[in-house]
Symmetry: C2
Subunit: 446 residues, 2 copies
Amino acid sequence: MKFVIIGGDAAGMSAASRAKRTDPDMDVVVLEQTHDVSYSACGMPYNIADPQRDMEKLVVRKAEVFIEKNKINLLTGHRVTAIDRAAKKISGITIEGDPFVFDYDKLFIATGAAPVIHDLPGFDLPQVMVLKSLEDGKRIKEYIIQKNIKKAVIIGMGYIALEMCEAFEKRGVKISMVKPGPVFLPWLFSDLADVVYEELIHMGVDIHSGHSVQKIEPLGNGVQVICENLTLEADLVLAAFGVKPCSGMAKNAGLDLGMSGSIAVDKYLQTSDKDIFAAGDCADAYHVVTDSKCWIPLALRANRAGWAVADNVCGTRTCLQGVAGTSVFKVFSLEVARSGLNFKEALDAGFDPVENTVKTRSRAHGQPCSTPIHINMVADKKTGRLLGTQMLGKEGVVHRINAVAVALQCKMTVEDFSQTDLAYAPPFGPVWDPLLTAANQLIKKI
Amino acid sequence: MKFVIIGGDAAGMSAASRAKRTDPDMDVVVLEQTHDVSYSACGMPYNIADPQRDMEKLVVRKAEVFIEKNKINLLTGHRVTAIDRAAKKISGITIEGDPFVFDYDKLFIATGAAPVIHDLPGFDLPQVMVLKSLEDGKRIKEYIIQKNIKKAVIIGMGYIALEMCEAFEKRGVKISMVKPGPVFLPWLFSDLADVVYEELIHMGVDIHSGHSVQKIEPLGNGVQVICENLTLEADLVLAAFGVKPCSGMAKNAGLDLGMSGSIAVDKYLQTSDKDIFAAGDCADAYHVVTDSKCWIPLALRANRAGWAVADNVCGTRTCLQGVAGTSVFKVFSLEVARSGLNFKEALDAGFDPVENTVKTRSRAHGQPCSTPIHINMVADKKTGRLLGTQMLGKEGVVHRINAVAVALQCKMTVEDFSQTDLAYAPPFGPVWDPLLTAANQLIKKI
């Protein structure tokens, strides 16, 4: 059995390691276009924030370990360019320019996602960067140190943009954020988005929603970002427009694509070709709330799906349940979390949604240092089902959302959720957990 | 409709307020033997720890507010002593010695639990205290200040005992703990109990398991606690043997008793007399894991059950689901949490239990300040069902247990739980949440 994996990040390396553990005799080949495998990409903003911390600390396991210890035929600097499904071969070119070809019995496409780059003038200037690979992270970090950066412009207001605000601020860099859309965080309920907005303003971040970027021009040692009705000067520009699935090769090979151009897979991670699997940020998934396909690129799913692919390749038929789109991030002193659908997503998915927002507190009555927790909860009026929750606060938010993630997986009603026996101790929350208060209030609207 | 409530704490006042909100014309009488209603009893150890914080800050709502604003006929200093079910009357005596009688249409017994006090010589000495009522808390706090306490002995090693360790330590009081049982925290998996033990030792607490207390004798201004093979000197003794349900009056009235001598109620909180409800620490409950009766006195349940009693009295038939026994506490720098059954409880309940313990970490690879998280997880080998989880660590423990509480309510299998879409961000956890790692490992044993 020859098992070839394209991409040596979360999904790819999880699959390779698990396949070799299950079947040490299997011929497992991983082709990775960069030189870095198995590192904590999500940790980069926090690492960049601290000049004393080596970027290499984010590397969980070096390529040599996979090769020597796990006996995986891991080839870095190998960029796969085409899949020949009829011949069951993949071909590509190394970083040194040498072509290569591998045949496979089972192929796993784990090519991930890539930053969206707009084809606008000036985006190729050296001061304009993206944050995706470890190389990107190193480049930004070194640039901040070497060029004594004072001003940065972040284009986009997604998770990476928000997390990088904190990193830049910690390095004494003044930040401006800009994006074309008029609404600051459109996916977040407005009252909650306002709290994030205030936090950013409080930390000295300039926010410019509703200005599309037209071009970037050199200006002295830096650049100027020229937007509609706005020009921003910067020593460094972070282009954080979001990511898109790396599915071009799959498309060229005639595989079915799914949501947002990601590779369509079934619950066994199989593509439209039974010998080709796809998983991680390049593939779609079922959503536990809608039971429909979605594309929500997140690290846990990539790792989990990598394991499942390995199991399926090794002969243990393994079905993956859906994702709930649980995501959390930190922006300065705030924790922000969501799981499931927001009101608009619920409406679009055909539910009859009803939502409610509560402001509760992080600790019990009489406890010092209690801070507000804001929760927006969405349910289906017809069935009473819990559809999603967003919450934020200065403490006790990120791990609480997990209770919602489990409830969504179980398709619980808000009524049933309101009866769960959640934890209580004065330093950690009120008797009625904030999520229970949110559920109790939402029930009244159902 | 005359609705009489015995006991003005969590369950009683929740019921009274809700009944008046639902039916403002209802004649709601609450008879409370102390002068304090609606205060955060669980907050007392944390308040005692801080001499600057007024104990009154724990009072959520004063009696006058319930009387004037909520129009509840709340009578403090009224101790009910008997229930005449045939005549539908209760009788008692005020703190001033005046007898009283009230008739009822519906009666709610919310008498709570009382500290277990052993009938041993010296337990009536003024240096020997319990911590249950707000008066108890004030007495301990004042005593520490006025008598310049240097040494305390805590008898018992339950939640209150452990939380009071931290309070005493913060006040510069040297602590010895003693109890008759040989095992330090028998309900906690031994590896986890060892971590708590080490934390206490590290903070200078002397722990003496396996010494039954025989008597307490005066010694100078303090006392000596005379145990089997051990004598401990103290300026103050906290008797924290645990609590027992206050069900004597119910028993005398011929109502059925349930687990641990608590008042037996159905899922509607009805006792064996259809006109008498009971809830809170004095009553039993169904356990979501076993579907059998249990007695687990906890604050959330008392509040929730109080509401349900009010709804049932007001005509909205309301059924309560069970409890999972979710409880969390803080002991110095450690957070300890549990939900569901431990291995022994699972065995006793007739399951075929299997358990596994993992040590993971609180933050992602490469993040500083990551600390260990220990998790013991129990499943049923026959069905694969998750039966319970215990966990501890220095951060990220208490709110994580809520995911388990929800899973137990849904009677989830460990396999399904292992597929839940839990949150990930580097400052808050590894990609594989500690609970997922625990589940993934436990699956291998099922």
